[in-house]
């Protein structure tokens, strides 16, 4: 039934998205990009595509980071426009999508400040999709005092909720008679990457719940299946990366960390939870997920994380396999009608495209030989649909 009314409120926004579909680079264009030999050539090629306007003002020898920033800016502009056209549920939904980028920005800022990078540089590297006014105030952060940072700055922001939950959980997991010092030590040892993963997990859970409860039926179906896959992807990634990790030396520690980082949604949770939390080898992980969907096939080709040192650029890592699968699903979701999943998929696919272009720019600027395996490491959105 909601399909009948979809276009009343959200038809225009969806139509814009469908129009933007034409802006995706196709396989022929990727081939041409690969044949570029210098950055100016790549830039002038991009100027003949949809990215024309966002690059025109720059020097031909554009830095990769600036290129990424420009591409992201264009995506953010499009997204801003769509958000401005959206009303009611859709505009809330789109705002939820932004939170993911906000988390990235906050963690990047924290990381940068810890490494004493200049604030101007940090601000210029912010993903425009996740910009919010308080972001510049993160500078107030003193040392590793995340609690104060939360209290002073982040409390007002959309992601404040996640940050609070994160702080609560971190402190709860400590032993009974903790002192102020212990807490400070905990923060000091905490890696920004860990913060990012936990925040994103919370966001994902929250987003999942939101989608399940508030969205119209069609959108719900589309999104829930996408988000479930993403949650499973995260879970597998966490387990996979923690196999053989030297920092996590005790069995108890490895289990708590995993438990804290693995989302509590998706098809793997809670049925296989006990198994995968305990998995110490790739084989065990494969065993744990074998009952669900086609994860076993995906993991079949993944290289063993215990031999991490032997990996080189030609290795098809788990991430590559997963991104490929993800891309296929998003492309399928993009073709669904009357569903908010389209917006989600669009954002994800555009991100993939930007990743591809930046990767190619990186390859070109390093002047790698054309038979280098890295050239093949791009996943072209919508290329799966033709097979």
């Amino acid at each position: 039934m909601d399909l009948c009314y979809f276009a009343v409120d959200d038809g225009y926004a969806e139509a814009i998205i469908r129009g933007l579909r034409a802006g995706f680079l196709n396989e022929a264009q990727y081939t041409q990009m690969k044949s570029c030999t210098s950055i100016p050539e790549l830039k002038s090629f991009l100027e003949e595509t949809d990215y024309q306007n966002c690059l025109q003002a720059d020097q031909p020898q554009i830095a990769t980071s600036l290129l990424r920033q420009r591409l992201k800016k264009k995506l953010a502009d499009e997204f801003d426009y769509i958000e401005a056209q959206a009303t009611g549920t859709l505009s809330k939904f789109l705002f939820h999508l932004r939170c993911r980028f906000m988390i990235d920005n906050v963690v990047n800022m924290i990381e940068g400040l810890k490494n004493k990078i200049d604030i101007e540089v940090l601000l210029s590297n912010i993903d425009p999709l996740g910009w919010f006014p308080e972001i510049k105030n993160i500078k107030v952060l003193e040392g590793d005092d995340y609690a104060n940072l939360y209290r002073d700055v982040l409390i007002d922001t959309p992601i404040g909720v996640y940050f609070m939950k994160f702080l609560d959980e971190s402190i709860e997991n400590m032993h009974e008679n903790r002192t102020m010092n212990d807490i400070q030590n905990l923060f000091k040892e905490m890696k920004p990457e860990y913060i990012r993963t936990s925040l994103k997990k919370m966001w994902l859970e929250d987003f999942f719940r939101y989608s399940e409860e508030n969205l119209p039926q069609t959108s719900k179906e589309g999104l829930v299946s996408l988000l479930k896959f993403e949650a499973d992807f995260r879970t597998i990634q966490v387990i996979y990366n923690s196999i053989g990790n030297r920092d996590l030396n005790t069995v108890a520690r490895i289990q708590t960390t995993r438990k804290q980082l693995c989302p509590t949604i998706g098809t793997l949770y809670p049925d296989c939870e006990r198994q995968y939390l305990a998995a110490a080898q790739l084989e065990a992980l494969r065993e744990a997920v074998k009952g669900t969907e086609n994860y076993r096939d995906l993991l079949k080709d993944a290289p063993d994380p215990l031999k991490r040192e032997e990996f080189n650029v030609s290795t098809r890592t788990l991430d590559d396999i997963m991104y490929d699968e993800e891309c296929r699903r998003y492309a399928l979701a993009f073709d669904g009608q009357g569903s908010y999943a389209v917006f989600y998929a669009y954002l994800k696919l555009k991100e993939q495209e930007i990743r591809n272009i930046v990767w190619l720019a990186e390859m070109i600027s390093r002047r790698l030989a054309k038979n280098h395996p890295g050239w093949k490491k791009i996943i072209i959105p919508f290329s799966h649909l033709r097979k």
Partner: protein, 800 residues
Amino acid sequence: MSFYRSKEMEFYHLVIPRESAWKVVNSLGFLDMIHFVDHDPGQPQINRPFSNYIKRCEEVLQKIKNIQDEMRLRKIPIKMCPDVKELLSSYGNINHQYFEELEHSIIQSANDLSQQQKSLKVSQDKLNLIIENIEVLKQANSLQQEERDFEESQLIPMKFLQIVGVILKEDELRFKRIIFRVTKGSCLINTVDIEHKFPTGQKVVFNIILREGTFVNEKITKIIDSFQATKFELPKGAVAYEQREQNLKQELVETQNLIEMTITQINIQLQGFSAVHKNCSQIEEIRIYVEKERYLYQTLNMLKMTSAVFSGQLWIPKVYFKFVEQTMRQLSNIDEQIPVGQLQQANTKENPPTYFKLNDFTAPFQEIVNTYGIPRYREINPALSTLITFPFLFGVMFADIGHGFLLFAFGIFICSQDLFNSSFKPFYQVRYMFLLMGFFAFYNGFIYNDYLSLTLNLFGSCYSLNNNEFERAEDCNYPFGLDPVWGVSANHIAFTNSYKMKLAVIIGVIHMTFGIILKGFNAIHSSNTLDFIFEFIPQFLFLLCTFGYMDVLIIMKWMTDFEDTSLAPSIITTMIDMILNPFATPEQPLFANAEDQLKTSQILLLIALICVPTMLVFKPLIINSSNKKKQEIQHHILEQKQSEENFEDIRSPSVNVHENSHHEEFGDLVVHQVIETIEFVLGSVSNTASYLRLWALSLAHSQLAEVFFHMTISDGIDDGGLLGAFGAIAFYPMFACSTFGVLMCMDLMECFLHALRLQWVEFQNKFYKADGYLFIPFSYQKIQSNEDAFDVDDTKSSNE
């Protein structure tokens, strides 16, 4: 007759030595007579020889645009060029290095300009900072006064710390909140708006007062910093305060002077660009030159580059070839050291482009036809007959003496005026079309005798009122149009409906027959006997024998004077009987002799019935058999060749075989022909019915006019006297507005659209192939003086 069929084209190979390519192509650009063919449309622009030049041109154009924007901002006038070609030809004998000089000087001046803008920005920032500081001092002073009073009234003296600064208005609330949280509420924040407008937005002075000795001081500084706000030190004591104020004021004046000076400098530089030279501003002149250069290089990119020569393929209209040749000869006369290269006629499998020489009158009509499809090369151009039929069909629907006259007068006005600089500019392109549309609406208004829903008694009616009955004078004919007496008769609508309906069908059948005849001409022109005999002739006969016959019946009925109108035969019944009861003698014959009529209709029906299978069967059969013959011959040759050459060169014959098998299969041919025939037969019925819109729209028009007239001024006029006059005057604005808005605007558009449909669907589908492509001359005329009008990318894409 170049408008009847497109100009004959010839295909040429152009070979130019590398060093003179620029010169030759440059001089060809003034001719507007050459259509360059891209040698490889698939090749990306970047890989072409002149792409870096195009890039450079674009960069220079960007710089010029920046300068022009700056000029517009500073309200320095830019004079546009009236005639691009004249300007460009005034350069005389130059070469491609001239662009490099221009490029150099433009980049130089753009850099100067940006330098000056930068220093202007710096001083403006400084000015803003000073203004901020002054505001802060002003606010702080008044607060300090209060504070001092407060301190004096305190029993236990407490020390307070004061932090002042300026922050953006939009950050104000968040700033206050963060400060509140950090200090845990133990501070006083005060903000005052600054009236001065800053380029970054509205700003406010903030003033934080907290107890000295608290540790948060450092943190607050950090927060202020993170808001990118400015913090100002406060002078201690009244004397220091005054001194600071003095200093600041002095600085303010100095900075203002500096800014003024910089602005004058910038203005002087921009004035230089504005100077008029060769009939337009210098900057515009340069822009046009660079624009031309870019266009030239884009054209050069269509040529194929080999080591020492450029070779290109081009289409030249046959009649223009001598001009092109002449130009090239002249070029070699001017400077004998330049090798100009050569033109060679060649053969090609490509279809030639379609080119009509248009003028202001024919252009809009050609545009109407082109919107449907570009005529095939040397096909009859429907635009020729459209010149009259389109305005005429429009006129039939819009028929009204009053409205038509208004439109006609408007047409005369826009044709006689110099519209280019008036608010009527949008009509400039279509002014002659409006004139004709107005004329035919006016003319048809007389035929229908309809003047704003009234009838005009211009020549004296033939009827006179006698005892409430109309009597017709003997031997009297109303000379032109409808007798006005119908306007007051009871069966006015019934009569005009029947009259207009029949007229519409007659016009329709004539229009369609004309379309079919054009098809015949096309078949003769392309010497396609098959199409002529098995498509044109049966179609022509079919239409004439059915609906042509109906037209004859209509006219016969008009000519006959029936004593008792109830005995008059119905044409619809006659037509239906002709098909359903072909052997029954008509009860109410139109012909003098019923038997004659039966015979005539039987013969016509027979012809029409024979026509259908003729259209259907023969064409695919003949094409198929001739295809087979060809294939057999090909196979024969192939076999011979293969045995002769001992399978040596298999490649080229195999290509031939491939091309042959490209011919349509027999099944496809049959299906195609069946569709075509059914479409024609059904179409002749539905298209004839479609022409009834000529009647329907005319009816709608007259009824609307009548309603507006009766609802507004008619009562007042009927009443007469002073009251009636006032009533009519009071309602006149409503009448005028509705007439203008609904009839002159909306109904005009509606009639236009329906005329367009009749033109495209009913007329053009009878003969028009519309699968050609346009001849796009390489012409500097396209570089408009107006920035947005010229877009090379457009021409490029339509080219490919």
